[in-house]
């Protein structure tokens, strides 16, 4: 793009019209399917004024939904951070029987519909499920309670960190770790001082994606939640309930919060990618 006008050869400038067309098509598509709905969310949320917006967001059920979403996201991201690191470390740095099976299984949550994921947990932990009666006898509620929502969210967001790290770690190979070992470093020292710094940008990227999905997950959570207002409603579920009650302004107000969180994630991701492209290395290097 830096080269233009006279420095470009005639052969290249012939394609200028085609390029402009493609660019316009791309931008129009983007505006129609991404920017317009996003703008609509905010426009609708503020359609009855700021007061209604603030009331909808500050309403106790909404606050409970926001808190639950943040709690579930925190737990899910923490779980998948640990699992993703452990899984990608073992897949990329060691060879063991069942390795390809593990790699395939990591992708399972992506290939299964979230509704099915939720139903699996109902089958396992529901009142008539495999572990349900035993758990209930011991006073543990999973389905239609917070633990079920956490389980479903962890399951759905499981691949993000591992998927981001496995190719990165495989590309980096074992050389750095082997050198560190010859220099006398212990396993933990190697992990924290060599492996982790090498993948930190990729890891943050994976965590961000995982975070975005955990906050927005609807299908699986909807199945296991039970939709109890103020107790088991996450933000997406709360939006749905408000919408079904024709409370559009409130629904869009909460939705706009979710959208804002998504935009924040996107901004962070862009910053990370810019840093990763620098000399310190990062995603893809």
């Amino acid at each position: 793009m830096k080269l233009s006008g006279s420095t470009r050869s005639a052969a290249v400038s012939e394609g200028r019209f085609a390029r402009a067309c493609l660019l316009a098509l791309g931008l129009a598509f983007l505006a129609l399917f991404l920017l317009l709905p996003l703008a609509a969310v905010f426009a609708e949320a503020l359609s009855k004024g700021l007061a209604v917006y603030a009331a909808a967001v500050a309403e106790p059920d909404a606050v409970a939904a926001i808190r639950l979403t943040l709690l579930v996201t925190a737990i899910a991201v923490a779980c998948n951070l640990v699992f993703g690191l452990a899984a990608s470390w073992s897949v990329a740095k060691f060879s063991f029987p069942g390795k390809s099976l593990l790699v395939t299984l990591i992708d399972l949550p992506f290939s299964v519909s979230p509704v099915i994921s939720g139903l699996i947990y109902v089958l396992l932990f529901g009142a008539h499920g495999v572990f349900g009666p035993w758990l209930r006898a011991h006073g543990v509620e999973v389905i239609f309670a917070v633990p079920g929502i956490v389980l479903a969210t962890v399951f759905v967001t499981l691949p993000f960190v591992a998927r981001e790290l496995i190719p990165l770690m495989e590309a980096q190979g074992r050389g750095d770790e082997e050198v560190a070992r010859t220099l006398g470093a212990s396993g933990w020292q190697i992990f924290f001082r060599v492996t982790l710094p090498n993948v930190k940008w990729g890891l943050l990227y994976g965590v961000l994606l995982c975070n975005a999905r955990a906050m927005g997950e609807f299908g699986a959570v909807s199945v296991v939640s039970g939709h109890i207002r103020g107790l088991t409603n996450t933000m997406p579920l709360h939006v749905e309930i408000l919408y079904n009650e024709y409370n559009f302004a409130a629904a869009f107000a909460v939705a706009s919060l979710l959208a804002l969180l998504a935009l924040l994630t996107l901004a962070l991701k862009t910053v990370l990618e810019a840093r990763g492209a620098g000399p310190a290395g990062g995603p893809g290097h």
């Binding site: 060879s95 050389g175 750095d176 082997e178 050198v179 560190a180 070992r181 010859t182 220099l183 006398g184 470093a185 212990s186 020292q189 001082r193 060599v194 710094p197 090498n198 930190k200 000399p279 310190a280 290395g281």
Partner: protein, 349 residues
């Protein structure tokens, strides 16, 4: 530190290389090259010494002590990888100081001492002033020297280098070669390096171990290796060589139905004679010395000498003869010239 390797074997590793009953000893302070074609197992042997590969059988002794049960981190080896494997998230100084900074608290020097030691080593490898750079900001040759300084920082009993000059361009390679020899002579570390470049091995090492298909063909000084190669493989691997498949008969060697004119009697039972390119003289027809009649089919300039491809009138593969450039300048050869290839020296197997 003295290293003894006794009957070391390893079945095919993940890269398909194997080791087969390797026996060799490396004296304290010696600089030894492991030379072989790619896939010969030389890197596997180096990694086994470091403890990065586990042999199936055989022993490795450091100063007489079996190190089989010693983990890599307890072997005190300085290993320099072909790709250098510098820690890219650390500065040059942090890279060099890494080995000291991961020591158990009891034996770990204070931070200031680690930094001072790192700077001292960077001076030794002539990189002072670059302490705060990251590896990405260094040239290939500089990275190589940082990797070396990092390995030296733990005061290793042995320095192991995998293709130390493999990733560098020819000029830097040559410079670093002399520099490494000099560094070795000053620090006195027992050093083993892997290379596929015979010139590098012969020029740099005290002794060269030639490895082929997981076996040790010969370990000897460069002069012995070149002058008295123990196996046909070494003959063919070192320098350009002409091979004659012959039948020996009462001191004569029959090649393609003709008696080869040899400077010495052919030993009984010999089946293959090797003649280096510079041991095959290209003569004008009619000269007194007997040789193989033929004609020049190619003339190639190769630095200080000219290589002639000679097609023997008796058939067989092209013969290669080396002519010093000064002789060539006074009596040039050209394609199609009739020539007689006279064998000046040979080795029989």
């Amino acid at each position: 530190m003295r290293i003894d390797i006794c009957n070391l074997s390893k079945a095919f590793d993940s890269a398909g290389r194997a080791l087969n009953g390797i026996d060799m000893s490396i004296a304290d302070g010696e600089l030894v090259a492991l030379l072989g074609p790619s896939g010969s197992g030389k890197t596997t042997l180096l990694r086994a010494i470091a403890g990065l590969e586990t042999p199936d059988s055989g022993e490795i002794l450091f100063d007489g002590e079996n190190v089989a049960s010693r983990d890599v981190r307890d072997r005190n080896v300085g290993f320099v990888f072909q790709s250098y494997a510098l820690f890219k998230t650390m500065t040059v100084q942090e890279n060099v100081g890494f080995g000291l900074s991961v020591r158990p608290r009891a034996t770990r020097p204070p931070k200031a001492e680690i930094a001072a030691r790192a700077r001292e080593l960077l001076r030794l490898v002539q990189l002072d002033g670059l302490e705060d750079r990251t590896p990405a900001q260094l040239s290939g040759g500089q990275r190589q020297r940082v990797a070396l300084a990092r390995a030296l920082a733990i005061d290793p009993g042995v320095l192991l280098l995998d293709e130390p000059f493999g990733a560098l361009d020819a000029k830097v390679r040559k410079e670093l070669r002399g520099w490494l020899r000099d560094l070795h002579d000053r620090t006195g570390h027992t050093t083993v390096f892997v290379t596929h470049d015979q010139e590098e091995a012969l020029e740099l090492a005290d002794r060269v171990a030639v490895i082929n298909r997981g076996r040790l063909e010969q370990i000897a000084t460069p002069a012995e290796l070149y002058g008295a190669p123990a196996t046909p493989f070494i003959c063919e691997f070192l320098g350009s060589v002409n091979a004659f498949d012959v039948t020996a008969e009462g001191g004569r060697a029959l090649w393609r139905g003709h008696a080869l004119p040899l400077p010495a009697p052919c030993p009984a039972g010999a089946a293959r004679l090797f003649v280096r390119a510079h041991e095959l003289a290209a003569l004008r027809p009619g000269s007194a010395q007997p040789g193989i009649p033929g004609s020049v089919e190619g003339v190639r300039l190769s630095g200080s000498h000219v290589r002639l491809d000679i097609r023997a009138a008796w058939g067989g593969p092209l013969l290669e003869a080396e002519v010093p450039i000064l002789d060539f300048d006074s009596h040039p050869w050209k394609r199609g010239d009739a020539a007689v290839a006279a064998i000046l020296a040979f080795r029989a197997f």
